[in-house]
């Protein structure tokens, strides 16, 4: 907890007969019950983390529990009692994730580098398994327990059971009839049909013989006979090398988190290592990526700026038109004109995706008499369409805020301008607009930040398309955030690259932060001038 621990004495703690921390009233009992529940939950998580060897989660949980008990039972933590619950969520799900994004951006986390070195070694040993040429065949039964598959293996006269998670261990009281396992206590034996139904899972299942991955594992191809498979790779913990037992090639770890042989060949499973600023420079220097990156960045800025400017102008026009006391139908107009703002953004975006569809969409079919204009698939038109749809989505917000601002304009200044002989246009340009901008500027800045990261609109309307080239998923209307989404590979189907995606995320953080800071400073200047 980085939060303030020492509090100025709150006025509530002047001497009183009883402090409520020790007052065994109704409130205290409620607190006691709630804290008991929190502690019970915390201990449950700690035990679960211990079982899974997740030491990070374990220590964080211990810290949170200690902090929670201190905050709610100490007397000098009054303010923290109120901030703590929200703070816990903020720390874990916002500050931590921001920090973790920064950390991941310095690593090569992603496809081929998904885990720790130990896990990578285990995976390598497993993946490179081949059946021992002279290995004996063991009678085997496929068993199941709570949805988890396992093998029961008959070795000599003992039956051993294991799963993908747990290596083989002896079970007592198993029944063997005619050399086949017919009953295993606590496990259901799968019949022929069940094995066929689940064929792929059975073939893929490997059960380690013991804890040491080099002892190999049992596998089966028919669900009846098991063979011992061992790895063609051999791991030498002392020398920190992998040796291929067939070819004799020795692989040593390199700086990129992979085992590499002297001839430069690498093993396919690597682990996470820190790569410094590589991900950051990658976006600028990688020949295939850099060009797209520049284009996408430029379009992100253009898109955010134009979206704010166009919606502001249209919203303002409507606000001015409606800003006339005693105009008929004003209320009805106002209520109907802000309807686009009240419809969830994802729905609007999807509706427009249909309206602008090249072959079947209403825009081409009804308005343009069947012209097949590629609104969403031509690089230029797609950009135009996005701005158009954003105009529809965004002008009501600007209409609302400019209406408020217009009504707040001081009448005497207008009057003075008129007396000084300023025409309507001059008054508008020199007085109305600057005053309007002062009061709406902070909202325009947050609107810019919002449009800068308007993922939903882009993703649902064009999906970032049309693609720059057939070999990339990145497209002409992608903005930085949708580029991050595609590069991260989280959606599946493409190689994951968490490191690069995080580095791009951090760059967006920085851009948005710098723009906000500069813009807020500028608006403060404006305010001082006026």
């Amino acid at each position: 907890m980085s939060s303030p621990s020492t509090l100025e004495k709150p006025r509530t703690s002047r001497p009183r007969p009883q402090s409520h921390a020790t007052n065994f009233g109704k409130g205290f009992l409620v607190k006691l019950a709630l804290m008991a529940a929190v502690n019970a939950f915390g201990i449950f998580i700690i035990l679960a983390a211990l079982q899974q060897d997740s030491m990070g989660i374990l220590w964080v949980m211990v810290g949170l529990l200690v902090a929670a008990n201190w905050v709610f039972f100490a007397r000098r933590t009054l303010a923290l009692k109120y901030v703590f619950p929200g703070l816990v969520f903020l720390l874990i799900f916002q500050l931590f994730t921001m920090g973790y994004t920064l950390y991941v951006s310095f690593t090569n986390y992603g496809q081929g580098h998904n885990s720790t070195k130990d896990q990578a070694i285990t995976a390598l040993l497993q993946q490179n398994e081949v059946r021992l040429p002279d290995s004996p065949a063991y009678p085997l039964a496929v068993v199941q327990q709570g949805g988890e598959l396992g093998f029961a293996v008959l070795e000599d006269d003992t039956v051993e059971v294991g799963t993908a998670e747990d290596p083989l261990s002896v079970v007592d009281d198993a029944v063997v009839t005619d050399g086949a396992i017919t009953e295993v206590p606590g496990w259901d034996i799968l019949d022929r049909q069940a094995i066929i139904a689940d064929q792929q899972a059975v073939v893929d299942l490997r059960v380690s013989i013991d804890e040491d991955p080099e002892s190999g594992s049992i596998r089966t191809t028919d669900g009846r006979t098991g063979y011992v498979y061992t790895s063609t790779l051999e791991w030498d913990p002392e020398a920190d090398t992998m040796t291929n037992t067939e070819t004799g090639v020795v692989y040593t770890p390199n700086d990129e988190g992979q085992f590499e042989a002297e001839d430069g060949s690498k093993l396919n499973v690597g682990w996470r290592v820190t790569v410094g600023l590589e991900n950051y420079t990658e976006a600028f220097t990688n020949p295939t990526l850099a060009g797209y990156f520049y284009q996408i960045t430029a379009w992100t800025f253009v898109q955010a700026f134009l979206s704010v400017a166009l919606t502001f102008l249209l919203g303002l026009l409507v606000a001015i038109a409606m800003n006339k006391p005693g105009m008929r139908g004003q209320k009805v107009y106002r209520s109907l004109l802000i309807l686009p703002y009240a419809i969830p953004g994802f729905i609007s975006a999807l509706i427009f995706a249909g309206l602008f569809n090249t072959r079947f969409g209403a825009i081409n079919q009804i308005l343009l008499g069947g012209a097949e204009i590629p609104w969403l698939t031509d690089p230029f038109l797609a950009k135009f369409t996005i701005l158009f749809v954003n105009l529809w989505l965004g002008y009501p917000y600007m209409f609302l805020i400019t209406t408020g601002a217009l009504q707040a304009l001081p009448g005497d200044v207008m009057e003075a301008a008129k007396i000084d002989g300023a025409g309507p246009l001059r008054t508008w340009r020199s007085i109305t607009l600057p005053l309007l901008l002062v009061s709406t500027a902070p909202l325009l800045i947050s609107s810019f930040a919002f449009n800068f990261n308007n993922f939903t609109l882009i993703y649902m309307l064009t999906g970032g398309g049309p693609s720059f080239s057939p070999t990339t998923s990145l497209g002409h209307t992608d903005i930085l955030i949708s580029m991050v989404y595609k590069i991260s590979g989280i959606s599946g189907g493409e190689p994951t690259n968490y490191g690069l995606a995080s580095a791009l995320s951090i760059m967006i953080f920085v851009i948005v932060g710098v723009i906000s800071a500069i813009a807020f400073r500028q608006t403060r200047k404006l305010e001082e001038v006026n």
Partner: protein, 297 residues
């Protein structure tokens, strides 16, 4: 404004020349009507598509040719109502949690003076500028790890999504509420304290009742934004029965836009109505919240 004639009400006034009427009021109506067409056409179109039994994108182009509720009935054959239920559970829980945690924090900042108070407020202001969704990769990795320890907090869990959304509960709303809390005179607390009320009693029975309007606004804003949130929901909620409406409706039109159009339109209409009603109902609060500070007393 361009003209400053004493706003003549048209009623009872001797005839105004057409030119003058155009300059004063006519153009306003022209702008308003043009904008109405722009604003309402897509909405009318989607309502028509929802009522059109053909159910394809092409078939939806003949506005209000036939009207039937086939598309709405067809929703029962899909998981649509499960998604609606999921969304309501997630958005409601998030809204309640956001209000509870945000209000408590705002109370502390507004009523207690403690070391680091200003610094914490500034920190919150800065943090809220950085949207959580930018860190979605880290959110995904974090939930993966948490899920190994306790699956209800992992990938594909509604509770996990709610927790992620609650991570943003303090940042966005504390300021809105803090300002409002400050408008409640501290004399009220003082009087209650003299009468022997504890800070818990003051908070729950006095302050919270007086700030109900802002609680409603924050709850609504949180509900609506959670309702429409897409990227986190899409990443975390993997299995179809756990999807939210946003993820589900997207799946209908992302793959087979043409064929599922009627179904989508019906779903879109149903999904929009509650938000629309809430919005119209609470319009003045929302407008007030947006323009706070820019409108004179």
């Amino acid at each position: 404004m361009a003209t400053t004639t004493q706003a003549p009400t048209t009623i009872g006034q001797p005839k105004m020349s057409f030119g003058k009427w155009m300059r004063e009021l006519g153009w306003r109506h022209i702008v308003a009507i043009a904008m109405l067409v722009f604003a309402l056409a897509p909405i009318l179109y989607v309502i028509s598509a929802a009522l059109n039994p053909v159910g394809t994108l092409t078939g939806s182009n003949e506005l209000f040719r036939t009207v039937s509720f086939d598309n709405f009935a067809a929703l029962n054959q899909t998981r649509f109502w499960t998604w609606v239920g999921n969304t309501l559970v997630i958005a409601t829980t998030t809204a309640i949690g956001t209000v509870l945690m945000g209000a408590a924090a705002a109370f502390a900042f507004s009523r207690f003076r403690f070391k680091g108070r200003r610094a914490s407020l500034t920190a919150l202001l800065i943090i809220q500028m950085f949207p959580q969704m930018l860190a979605f990769v880290a959110v995904f990795l974090l939930l993966n790890t948490l899920g190994n320890v306790w699956p209800p907090l992992g990938i594909d869990s509604k509770l996990a999504v709610i927790c992620v959304y609650l991570g943003g509960a303090l940042g966005v709303n504390t300021f809105l509420m803090y300002g409002f809390f400050n408008t409640i005179p501290t004399e009220l607390d003082e009087a209650a304290k003299i009468d022997g009320a504890t800070h818990t009693q003051i908070y729950w029975t006095i302050i919270l009742r007086l700030v109900t309007p802002i609680l409603a606004v924050v709850a609504l804003l949180s509900f609506v934004s959670t309702f429409a949130e897409f990227i986190i929901a899409r990443i975390v909620l993997v299995s179809e029965s756990n999807w939210t409406v946003a993820v589900g409706l997207y799946s209908w039109v992302s793959s087979r836009l043409d064929a599922n159009w009627g179904q989508f339109a019906a779903g879109a209409v149903i999904t929009s109505i509650p938000v629309l009603v809430l919005f119209l109902f609470l319009q003045k609060y929302i407008v007030g919240g947006l323009t706070a500070g820019s409108v004179k007393g």
